[in-house]
Subunit: 327 residues, 2 copies
């Protein structure tokens, strides 16, 4: 009764999902689906590789399809298409467009009564949960999300899609004085650009117009336009040497008050320190696949997010084990 | 369409619930139920006081009853009785007895199809959620819960129930070297008494047998028997002056690895710094009452814990607001 997982897209995130499935004894990875020639793709653990276009022939073989494409162009198209025939999980992370994405995926799930969970990962995802729980239990308060220091894959991908860019890495960096003020319970008002800066390391193609690339980065809506952004052009060699990893992290802080005279301060802090952003995101997606499988088994169809999932559905432990050992 | 809340028991926790309800515009506190003479009880916000025995006449007036008694003797009896006729929330926190409590409350809810949520608060409660989410997303890892430094109400209450004790405060204190080892990702094996110590400040009645009181504290199962415990006998005056507050806090840390060679470390840390343990616990109970109300409206009856609650049910925000602003 293993949960059969399909992996749609095979970059860093797809490889992370493949490895994460191996850590969960109640799941099996059926295979990877790629738009490349399957013969050219070698998986980490030797699972089969199929052509993406053949996925729809395998609806009977897969319980949950985990989509591992990018949010900029892949997921807005792929998730609604696949949610017509599969239970799906994705990591769509363009915050401003989540309502539209949920609406599109919801409509797709309704065709055959499938279950989808979108915008999973750590932000949106685990950080969203931290914001929700913090606000629910401390309504008289404020919350703050700080990212980094770390590489944002979404932002790096967005730079790579610009014409003339060979490769790129983007670091999100929290501003230390802002973090200190928030942890002390001062509840400061902080605009987006007063909490973080964005630092970009970009490899330009030979002869590319660097001024245009820099302008396109700095004015990109949702991704960079609202932030202080620094762009460094470096060689491919330097990028690989100094910026090879994908670390990330951050904190969500809820600071609130209670009491007759609001005299009692409370600070809730949820923090992540991640050596590999993609592998941690993948681990969240895999836990979500378990929840999607269970919700679908119970006839709970439609487009969900982590905010809709009873936490116990994410865990391999039985209710008895949870009550006895974990609660 | 305000959610009508009853408050059963009126000590620190009951007062905290009364104040927390005021922070939530979708709720109204109907009144306090006490075993004392109602005429002798003055509420913080002027809400009515009823005799506990009259609660069952008010089943039509209350949507959710929040139980604010202690775990040692009150809740094991009261929650099952009240769950027959009311939707209820409690903060039962004797970890070893949670499965039995859930079973008793479940049976009670089945009489009239009521909804109960037990063992809410911060541990069990928010910390249980942190343990569950951490374990679900990092299965190849370990988790650690540290409490304090802070006053444990449950442990202080347990001391106060001992014959000859006038009043008492118990501090739970994390051992710093253990905390440092865990945060560094060393994943040490730590026995219960290698993570914390317990320090008790006790006011004995005149002529009471202090040696017997100290022995009863140190051998009390579930509460003290497994810990290094220090007992100080002090005057009532000193207790009020130096140990008047109810601060608490702690952290849940999940440390795990991913990657082809388990080469990537990840550390998740959920931390609380609370000026008032009772008021924070009360704030959690009130958010849970909202979830209980919604689950009951949907016909979802039975005995739940926070692990069973879709997070969105705790929030006053609509699904549209959550997707647009919080996810």
């Amino acid at each position: 009764m293993s949960i059969r997982i399909g992996i749609y897209g095979y970059g860093n995130l797809g490889r992370g999902v493949e490895l994460a499935v191996q850590q969960n004894s109640d799941m099996t990875a059926v295979g990877v689906f790629t738009r490349r020639d399957p013969k050219t793709v070698q998986t980490c653990t030797g699972i089969p590789v199929f052509f993406a276009g053949d996925a729809e022939k395998m609806t009977e073989d897969i319980d949950v399809m985990i989509l591992c494409g990018g949010s900029a162009t892949d997921l807005p198209k792929q998730t609604p298409i696949l949610a017509e025939k599969f239970n799906v999980v994705d990591s769509f992370d363009t915050h401003a467009k989540i309502p539209e994405h949920v609406k599109n995926v919801q409509a797709a799930t309704e065709k055959l009564g499938k279950t989808a969970l979108v915008s999973a990962g750590w932000d949106p995802g685990m950080f969203s949960l931290a914001r929700l729980y913090g606000g629910a239990v401390l309504p008289n308060g404020k919350d703050y999300t700080f990212w980094g220091k770390g590489v944002s894959q979404g932002h790096s991908d967005a730079i790579r899609r610009i014409e003339g860019v060979v490769d790129a890495k983007q670091y999100t960096i929290p501003l230390e004085n802002a973090l200190t003020a928030v942890r002390s319970g001062q509840n400061p008002e902080l605009a987006t650009d007063e909490k973080h800066e964005r630092e970009c390391f970009v490899v330009a193609a030979e002869g590319a117009d660097k001024a245009r690339i820099e302008r396109e980065i700095k004015t990109m809506p949702n991704y960079f336009a609202d932030y202080k952004t620094t762009v460094h052009f470096i060689s491919l060699e330097e990028l690989r040497e100094k910026h090879g990893g994908l670390p990330h992290g951050g904190v969500v802080i809820r600071s609130g008050v209670t009491g007759v005279d609001n005299q009692h301060k409370h600070v809730i802090e949820y923090g992540l320190k991640l050596d590999s952003n993609a592998e941690f995101t993948a681990s969240v997606l895999v836990a979500c696949a378990r929840a999607v499988y269970r919700m679908h088994q119970e006839g709970n169809a439609g487009c969900k997010t982590l905010l809709d999932v009873p936490p116990a559905y994410l865990s391999p432990l039985s209710r008895e084990e949870l009550l006895a050992k974990l609660l």
